[in-house]
Amino acid sequence: MHLLVVEDDRDTREFIRNGLLQAGHSVDVAADGRDGLFAATTQQFDLIVLDRMLPALDGLTLLRTLRASGNRVPVLLLSALGEVDQRVAGLRAGADDYLVKPFAFSELEARIEVLMRRTAPDGPATVLKLGDLELDIMTRAVRRGAVPIDLQPREFRLLEYLMRHAGQVVTRTMLLEHVWDYHFDPQTNVIDVHVSRLRGKIDRGFDTQLLHTVRGAGYRLALEGVSDAG
C-alpha cells in the first residue's frame, strides 16, 4: 500500500513513516500543506495521514480542496491536543477518520488498515463469512458450521464489525465508536467483557479460535492465531 504522510513536526513524521514502513507499506512524506496538496494531486495514494495544523496551507483547507476536485482518497486527520474538539468539523470537511495527538501507534495503524480496506471492492455482501463462521445481515442469523449461534443485538453488531474487518486489528476505541456509537473513555474494561462473552458464544467448543486479543492494541477476528498485526 502507498501512503502519504503530511506532517510538519519532524519527529512525529519520521515516527509515523518508520512505523508504516515496518508494517510493510511504502510511504511518501510532505512537511507542509502546499507540498502535501501537490503530492496528493499528482500521485495516486491509498491513504493520506494529514495533520490539521500545517504551515503554508492548513490541513482542513487542503482536505476541502482535495474533496472539491473529486479526489476520494481516504484521509485520516490528525490534530494536536489542546485545540478545541473539532472532530466533527474535521469529519465534515471530508476526513474519513480523526485521531488526536499524541496517539498510540497501534491505534493509528489499526485505523489506517481499516480505512484502506474500506475502499477495497468487496461488493455489498449480505452474508459475511470467515472460515465456518457465517453472519447473515438480512436475516440476522449467525452460524458456526451447523451450529446456530444466538446473539444479543449488540453482540451481533460487534461480530458484524469484527467480520467486516476480519484479519485487521480493531482497537477498543474503534469498537466504542462504531458498535456503541459513543466517543468516551470507559473506566473499566467493559469492552473486554463484551468481547469475551462474544468469544464464549462463537469460539467455545470449537477447535479453531477466531477471536484473538492483540495485546496493547485490541482484537482481531481471523482464522490464523498469529497476533502480529503486520
Binding site: F15, V84, P102, H183, Q187, H194, G216
Partner: protein, 462 residues
Amino acid sequence: MLAERARSVASRFGALVRTSTFQLTLFYTGLFSVSAALLAMFFYWSTIGLLLRETDATLKAEVTGLAEQYLEHGLQRLVQVIVHRMGNDQSGSMVYLFATRDNQPLAGNLLEWPRIEADVDGWVEFSHRRADGRILPTRARVYGLGDGLHLLVGRNIEQLQQLRQVFNRALVLGVGLIFVLATGGGLLMSSRLLKRVGAMTAATGDIVAGQLDRRLEIRGTGDEFDELATRVNIMLDRLAALLATVRHVSDNIAHDLRTPLTRLRNRLELAARDAPAAVRDELEASVEDADQLLATFAALLRIARIESGSYDAQYEPLDVGTLVNDAIELYLGVAQDKRLALHAEVEGRAVVRGDRNLLFQALTNLLDNAIKHAPAGSLVKIVVGLAGGGVVIDVKDAGAGIPIGEYERVTQRFTRLDQSRSLPGSGLGLSLVKAVAELHHGTLSFSDNAPGLCASLKLPAA
C-alpha cells in the same frame, strides 16, 4: 397552611430577637428608660415636690400659730383669729375648721368635719364641697388641742393636683414613647442587619458547598459590611487564584508529559514486535502500564478543558432514558460477572439538551463507581425522574457508601477514599462527572442510600 405560616413568621421573629443588635437595642432601651425615669423623678421633686413642701410648711406654721392663740388666750380668741384669717384670705384657698370632741364645728369655713381618720396631729388629703358648690381637693393638717377639741387647717390643692396629673401623663407617655421608638428602631435595624448578614451567610454557604466563583455582595454604601465583604472577596479571589495555579501545574504536567510518554509507549510497542518472547511479555506489560498513565492524563486534561470552557461540546436534545439504557447495556456483562443485578427505572420522557458523549461518559463513570463498590449479589439501580423543571438521574448502590463529611472531597481530583484504595481507578471519575454536570448547568450531589451511595446527577430539562 396557616399554622405553617405562623410558624415561619415566629421563627423569623425568633431569629430577629436572637440577633445581637436587637439584644443590644433592648439593653439600651432599658437603660434609657431608667435614666428617663430618674430624670422625671428629679423634675418632680424640684417642681411639684417644692410646691408641696411649701404648702406643708405654710399649713404647719398656720396650725401652730392658731394652737398657740388657743393655748395662750383661750377658745374665744381662737375663734376670733380664725374668722379674721378667713377674712384676710383673698384667694379663698385656705380651709379652717375648729370642732368639738363630737365634730361639731365651732368656727371655720368647712361645713362639717371631713370623713377622714381622726388622726390627731397628722396630714390628711380629702375633697370637700364648698358653699358655692365646688368640690375642692384639699390638703390639711389636723391638730389636737386637748379636751377633745381639734383644729384643721388646710389648703386647696386643686392646681397642684392638676399639675401632678399633667406630669404623670407626660411621664407615662414619654416613657412609653421611648420604649416603642427604641424597640421599633431596634427591630428595624436588626432586620436590616439580619438581611445583610443573612445574605452573607447564604453566599458563604454556597461557597462552602462548592460554588467557588460565588462572591459576597457589595452594596456600594461603603459601610463596614461592604468593607468586610470586600476583604472576604479579595481573600476568596486569592484562594481561587492559588487553586487555579495548582490545577494549572497539574494540567500542564499532564499536557507536557503526554507527548514524551506516548513516544515511549510507541517505542516499546514497536520494540515488542521484533522482541523474543520473554522480553516481549515485559514490553507489552509496560505498554499497558503506559496506556493506563496516558488514560489518567487524558482524563485530567479533559476535565481541565471542560472546566475552562475550551471543550467544544455539541449540544443536542437527548433522551436520558436512551443514554441510561445504553449505559446499562454496556455494563451488564461487568455487573453479571460480579453477580450484581442492574436495573433502570425511567419515569416519563426525560429530555435534556447536552453533549451526548460527555453525558454518556458521566453516566458510565457513575455506573462504573457504583458497580465497583457494590458487594456481590446486591442491586445497582439507575432511577431517572423529573423534579423541579429538571431531570434527576440517581445512581444507587448498596456498597460502603461515602461518609457524609467526604461528599465534597470525592469530586476533587485524585481523591480516593480509604475504602476504595484497593480498587482500580484514577480518582478522576467523579471530578469528571462534576465538570460535565456544571458544563450543563447541572449539579452532582450525594446522599445516603442506606446502605450505600446515591449519586444524583441533576440536569435542566430541555
